[in-house]
């Protein structure tokens, strides 16, 4: 059986499983559609949250970004896990006690203002839509590879599948489907990593293998994997893997922005409405992080080991010997993956100096210029290596058996689909439940509400697909922007709503708007207006940026502005009424948490 058939078989079988579960648990009433009747155990909920959370960004994109940058991209690892601490300590138990269905309902009630609710809905839609753009980038990469078609065609097919899939289930369908998806995706991520860790270090646990000695040194005896990696990448003129090259300010702000954003994203917070009790909400966040950590502790090992493998493949005789020959790439079976990925347009090479060899090195490095001149090299010949392909190509790069490659295909699609579905659900509930039923047409029937939810999903996915064709960055980078937006708008409002009795309606609205607008404008100034390439006023680099802060890190500043403005404006305007102070009191104490209250 060839690889293409095997991939289709794995992907097809996993899909049949998810769709089967979705049909079996199809949502009936609106209450089930949004919050699954609140009957979900913390461990089950944690697993579903993990699947929901670990998207194309975590699964497909993150290890690739770490692989090609090293230590500097540790921000992704700390940021996307550290946010759960904020969520567990500052938000989850209180929002569960509050006992409504959506984040914006809490903001509308706590700040006793339909305007505040409306602003929250807008913030949610902006952040979630940006997030879906990142997911669609990942969906395009995954479908493009496994159907062996171009990235663009893959994206269009993927969009149709995501839509059909999200429309089918509600949260309930999604909850049990996501448990299945978690199992598929964690196996798909860890099994190849275990194989590769065994090949390179003899350690079956990749997280430990990262810090072990490697035997793949070409007869130099054994050295630490990271020492070896540092040595070969610097030999080729790239920045060392383990040292810091980014300024501390940007790294701290970027990490903080991802953390706060994690605790401000609607599709994650919504999960904590579905557990039966306040104490369960506390445990749920912990269980979610357990399941997430299984992938996150493996990811840095995947990145480092893949970088080592790729470099060794490009320089089979060591960095001092001859580079790989074009003919070898075209004929040798261990280079087959390069030919298949070339079809997607995400990997390419060119023999610029016509010596029949492909030299992969950093042609931007001054130190390499001399060596290149001496050897007659005319620039880096591995001309395109899209970061987002690394995880999916990883088992092929390491020459693992066909079934592992098929499994990774299924896992990558599970990751992208589950999060896209969760986000579409958040967007559709924001539009139909909060905007239409809550504000514009309160007398809407349940049937009309479900219909408008589905129309909102269709519009959101169309926009995301359009922008996903020309994404503002690799999947994880686009997703990082969404986190910045959530960090600057939603999280501060939620936290102040619980921890302060003084912040009032005017303050909250002013805070959310200033945080959102500041962050959005800063991102657009660097990434282009509405993410359309070429319309940016500043280059998206640390040195060229407006305040010396990268657009991916600006969310942390936006959050500080939000806190400051909200507090300042509140102090200058009328105090909160007594019933709001009572509401805050009651949210702070677990006793008396009832079932779900629909309004």
């Amino acid at each position: 059986m060839d690889q293409f058939t095997l991939n289709l078989l794995f992907v097809g079988a996993s899909f049949a499983l998810y769709i089967g579960i979705a049909v079996w648990a199809r949502a009936g009433s609106t209450s089930e559609f949004y919050a699954a009747g609140r009957g979900v155990h913390p461990v089950t909920n944690g697993m579903a949250t993990a699947a929901d959370w670990m998207s194309a960004a975590s699964f497909i994109s993150m290890a690739g970004l770490i692989a090609f940058t090293g230590y500097d991209n540790s921000s992704f690892l700390m940021g996307w896990t550290g946010g759960y601490v904020l969520l567990a300590l500052l938000l989850a138990p209180y929002l569960r006690k509050f006992g409504k269905f959506t984040v914006s309902e809490f903001i509308g009630d706590r700040f006793y203002s339909p305007t505040a609710r409306m602003v929250a809905v807008i913030c949610l839609i902006v952040a979630s839509t940006t997030y879906v753009i990142g997911q669609m980038t990942g969906v395009g990469v995954a479908f493009g590879r496994f159907l062996e078609i171009s990235n663009t065609a893959g994206l269009l097919i993927g969009a149709c599948v995501v839509f059909a899939y999200a429309v089918f289930g509600g949260m309930k369908g999604v909850t049990y489907t996501q448990v299945a998806q978690y199992v598929v995706l964690i196996m798909a991520y860890t099994i190849p990593a275990v194989f590769i860790s065994l090949q390179l270090t003899g350690t079956p646990i990749p997280a430990l293998g990262l810090f072990s000695e490697t035997t793949a040194t070409g007869g130099e005896g054994s050295v630490y994997l990271l020492t070896k990696l540092d040595q070969i990448v610097t030999d080729l003129g790239f920045a060392s893997y383990t040292e810091a090259h980014k300024d501390n300010l940007n790294m701290v702000l970027f990490t903080l922005s991802l953390m706060i954003g994690t605790a401000g994203l609607p599709h994650v917070i919504m999960r904590f409405f579905t557990v039966p009790k306040v104490s369960d909400a506390r445990w749920s966040a912990g269980w979610a992080l357990v399941f997430i950590a299984l992938l996150y502790l493996t990811a840095p090992a995947v990145g480092a080991m893949a970088r080592l493998n790729i470099t060794n493949l490009m320089w089979p005789n060591g960095t001092g010997g001859d580079a790989v020959a074009v003919q070898t790439i075209e004929t040798a079976p261990e280079y087959d993956w390069m030919l298949t990925w070339q079809k997607t347009g995400l990997l390419d090479w060119e023999d610029k100096n016509g010596d029949g060899l492909i030299q992969y090195y950093n042609d931007g490095s001054d130190a390499m210029a001399e060596k290149a001149a001496a050897n007659g090299w005319e620039g880096n010949e591995l001309t395109n290596f899209n970061r987002d392909i690394l995880v999916l190509a990883n088992p092929e790069i390491a020459n693992l058996p066909g079934w592992v490659i098929g499994l990774v295909a299924a896992g990558g699609l599970a990751a992208a689909l589950s999060t896209a579905a969760g986000l579409l659900l958040a967007i559709s509930s924001a539009v139909s439940h909060d905007l239409l039923k809550g504000q514009l047409t309160p007398n809407m029937s349940e049937k009309a509400e479900l219909m408008s939810a589905r129309i909102a999903m269709a519009v959101a996915i169309a926009v995301a697909t359009f922008l996903g064709l020309n994404p503002p960055g690799f999947a994880a980078q686009t997703v990082a922007l969404a986190f910045g937006l959530a960090a600057a708008s939603i999280f501060p409002a939620l936290m102040m709503g619980i921890f302060s009795k003084r912040v009032n309606n005017v303050g909250a609205v002013a805070g959310m708007l200033s945080g959102l607008i500041f962050t959005l404008v800063y991102i657009f100034l660097h990434k282009g207006w509405l993410f359309i390439a070429g319309t940016n006023s500043f280059p998206d680099t640390v040195d060229g940026s407006l305040f010396g802060i990268q657009s991916t890190a600006i969310g942390a500043i936006g959050a500080i502005i939000n806190f400051g403005v909200a507090y300042g404006v509140s102090m200058m305007t009328r105090d909160t009424p007594q019933e709001i102070k009572d509401l805050v009191e009651s949210v702070r104490i677990p006793a008396g948490a009832g079932g779900a209250v629909d309004h």
Binding site: L77, G82, A88, T242, T255
Partner: protein, 93 residues
């Protein structure tokens, strides 16, 4: 009268419960920031003396250590708060 004093006592207990909760949160968040922003980024040069598998302790904290500490923090908080709920008698039925 009796009813009023019970009411006042509940309010006082509520304040005590909340203050205790905020204290636990503050301590947890200091540890949270120390392992990530501290050991992982800003204080990494100070930890360069501790070698871990071909690199230093700061690199380990940035890529793995902080995640393990985050996990411990969340489970500690859930356990501690569920006990605090019972101490103040504010747990759910």
């Amino acid at each position: 009268m009796a009813e009023q004093s019970t009411h006042a006592k509940v309010a006082e207990d509520g304040a005590g419960y909340w203050a205790a909760n905020v204290r636990i949160i503050m301590i947890s968040l200091i540890i949270w920031a120390l392992v990530s922003f501290g050991f992982g980024i800003l204080l990494r040069p100070l930890l360069s003396g501790f070698a871990v598998g071909g690199t230093d302790l700061g690199f380990w904290f940035a890529q793995q250590g902080s995640i393990l500490v985050f996990l411990a923090l969340i489970f500690f908080y859930a356990w501690r708060m569920n006990r605090l709920d019972r101490e103040y008698g504010v747990e759910e039925d």
